[in-house]
């Protein structure tokens, strides 16, 4: 379902579902957490929408919101990295792919981070790496649970080269410290979570949740297809397949995520358990 060509539907009342290809009433989709009422397809959602859905109303206080990407390699492909960043910033209204802050879920304080797949595929360069690392450090300092929602098809960001790759070790080291201190870390995988993000902090969580039908894995499906020169089996690299093979704890519908996280936090608080 991830390879279907998108057909253009005029902006307005209707949109086409990428899951079932039906034309669905836009307002109804939006009312239902951006989930298709016909097939339960979970549309990708922007960071602002994610914060609204996950956290208690007006509870979010953003940290390090002015952090900006630099261009350590002076990278240029068909367009320069600088121009690409400017383009993505304009498109998304975000300064970078990750947004981090403090908020409450059903009244419980958490450190909350989200990566947005619309910003250079939610890939991890220095800013994403630094923000996730600082989120873990803040969670440790305040002894608050860390919740990270990943949407990252890009993994480690190519445009910052080796520096991006090393963010995997940096985030991982910071999260290890948090975990050793007995503070819970819950990761929520959303469509898509791949590559260097999946092979570092996203997989490292105490509890791994995932939205239904999301593309998750290490190598991208195109790379695998090219390597093995075969078509990929149906349902391969979906969260359902990950659950079956034992790599995630649970699949949770978007509308129920808040409550499920809140329930788990009741058990994972070493300050109150005896």
């Amino acid at each position: 379902m991830f390879f279907k060509r998108k057909r253009n539907i005029p902006d307005g009342l209707w949109k086409r579902c990428e899951g079932c290809n039906n034309v669905v009433y836009k307002k109804k989709v939006e009312e239902k957490y951006n989930v298709c009422p016909e097939c339960n397809y979970h549309f990708r959602i922007p960071t602002s929408e994610r914060i609204k859905i996950m956290l208690d109303k007006n509870s979010f206080e953003e940290y390090w919101k002015n952090m900006l990407p630099a261009d350590p390699l002076n990278f240029k492909d068909r367009i320069s990295y600088k121009d690409r960043i400017a383009k993505e910033q304009k498109k998304t209204g975000l300064k970078e792919a990750a947004t981090v802050g403090k908020g409450t879920i059903e009244g419980k304080s958490v450190i909350f981070a989200v990566t947005d797949p619309r910003f250079i595929m939610g890939s991890m360069g220095s800013v994403v790496g630094e923000k996730i690392t600082r989120a873990a450090e803040k969670a440790l300092e305040l002894r608050l649970p860390l919740i990270i929602i990943t949407g990252s098809g890009g993994g480690a960001r190519m445009h910052e080269g080796i520096i991006s790759l090393m963010q995997m070790a940096k985030t991982s080291s910071a999260i290890s410290r948090l975990q050793e201190a007995g503070t819970p870390y819950i990761s929520v995988l959303t469509d898509p979570t791949l590559g260097g993000v999946m092979a570092s902090f996203a997989s490292q969580a105490d509890i791994i949740m995932a939205e239904p039908g999301a593309l998750v894995g290490f190598a991208g499906p195109r790379v695998i297809k090219e390597t093995i020169k075969k078509t990929l089996p149906k349902g391969f690299q979906t969260t359902e397949s990950m659950l079956k093979h034992g790599f995630i704890d649970m699949i949770v519908e978007r509308s129920k995520l808040r409550h499920e996280i809140s329930k788990i936090l009741d058990y994972c608080n070493s300050n109150t358990n005896n």
Partner: protein, 317 residues
């Protein structure tokens, strides 16, 4: 291959031919002439290897004669005892693990295996490990931690295996677990890129107190071909991607990512594997001595700080 490099290589080949002809000619003594030509060859080789464009370095790092991990084990490790198995699924031959002595230092050695012959290369999946390989490495690393043995990892992989089975057995999870564990293992860890340092597949055994690289090896977030296919929409742009990614030993040193560039013999490692192994051995022994002098808690703290400071961004506060 760039024009200059190509010309130089042709001249070197011509010289080699002349030297060989002179040597084969037993009627007259040409030892003085041979010596002269060999000197000239060495100078040209030095010139050629000192100005290689990044994609040429990639080719050297992948050269079929470049010494693989097994050569270094033979040349610099005494009393090697190979250990097998990840204790949960299998024994991935693509990552070799074992105990051995480097100089007077007892260590655990872990390395990507690429093989030397075509048959071996196929058997070893061209150096692309499966999750079992990473889990095997972790299992042995825990053993090293328990017995206070320093860990030496030799990195040489195009990347972790991208296929269906590897995905279904949790490639991402296996790598993530290794990275997380390596950030806190209570024993010195030395990582050296000896050929290709391919992305997450390299990092899965590549987090430690020392991270160094051989002169004509490279280490990158993605292969130049993969990067070209995505960003230039064609693999034909691999040369440009190789330059843009700044992944040669020199680039990585300038970016502050590697601790040291380990020099290769004239004409690169494959030209003199024995000399290369000697240099590598000396470097490793020196690292172990340096790291063993640091109290273990301080070592872990230093390791964390080493990675903590990597990043380039504008704080904006």
């Amino acid at each position: 291959m760039s024009k200059d490099t190509h010309n130089l290589e042709n001249t070197i080949l011509e010289l080699e031919k002349c030297i060989q002809e002179l040597k084969n000619n037993s009627e007259q003594d040409s030892s003085i002439e041979i010596k002269k030509l060999e000197e000239k060859k060495k100078t040209l080789q030095k010139e050629m290897y000192s100005n290689l464009p990044p994609y040429e370095i990639v080719k050297i790092s992948r050269h079929h004669l470049r010494p693989p991990v097994s050569d270094y084990i033979n040349l610099m490790v005494d009393d090697f005892v190979e250990l097998h198995g990840d204790r949960s699924y299998g024994d991935d031959k693509c990552i070799i693990t074992g105990l051995g002595k480097i100089g007077n230092k007892k260590v655990l050695i872990i390395g990507h295996q690429k093989g030397k012959t075509t048959k071996e290369r196929i058997k070893l999946n061209f150096g692309m490990p499966n999750p079992e390989g990473y889990r095997k490495a972790l299992h042995k690393m825990k053993l090293a931690e328990k017995f206070h043995l320093p860990i030496v990892t030799l990195i040489d992989t195009p990347g972790a295996n991208p296929d269906i089975g590897a995905e279904e057995r949790g490639q991402a999870h296996a790598i993530a677990t290794n990275i997380a564990e390596m950030t806190k293992l209570k024993t010195p860890i030395i990582c050296i890129v000896i050929g290709e340092g391919g992305s997450g597949g390299a990092l899965g055994i590549g987090v430690g107190d020392k991270f160094s690289i051989l002169e004509f090896a490279y280490c990158s977030v993605i292969s130049p071909e993969g990067c070209a296919a995505i960003l230039w929409k064609s693999k034909d742009n691999a040369e440009q991607a190789a330059t843009a990614l700044k992944f040669t030993a020199k680039d990585l040193y300038e970016l502050g990512i590697v601790d040291e560039i380990i020099p290769e013999p004239t004409g690169a490692a494959h030209n003199n594997p024995e000399e290369m192994a000697r240099t590598l051995k000396e470097t490793i022994v020196r690292y172990i001595e340096e790291l063993q002098a640091i109290p273990i808690d301080k070592l872990i703290e230093n390791r964390h700080n080493k990675y903590r400071k990597i990043g380039c961004f504008l704080d904006g506060e």
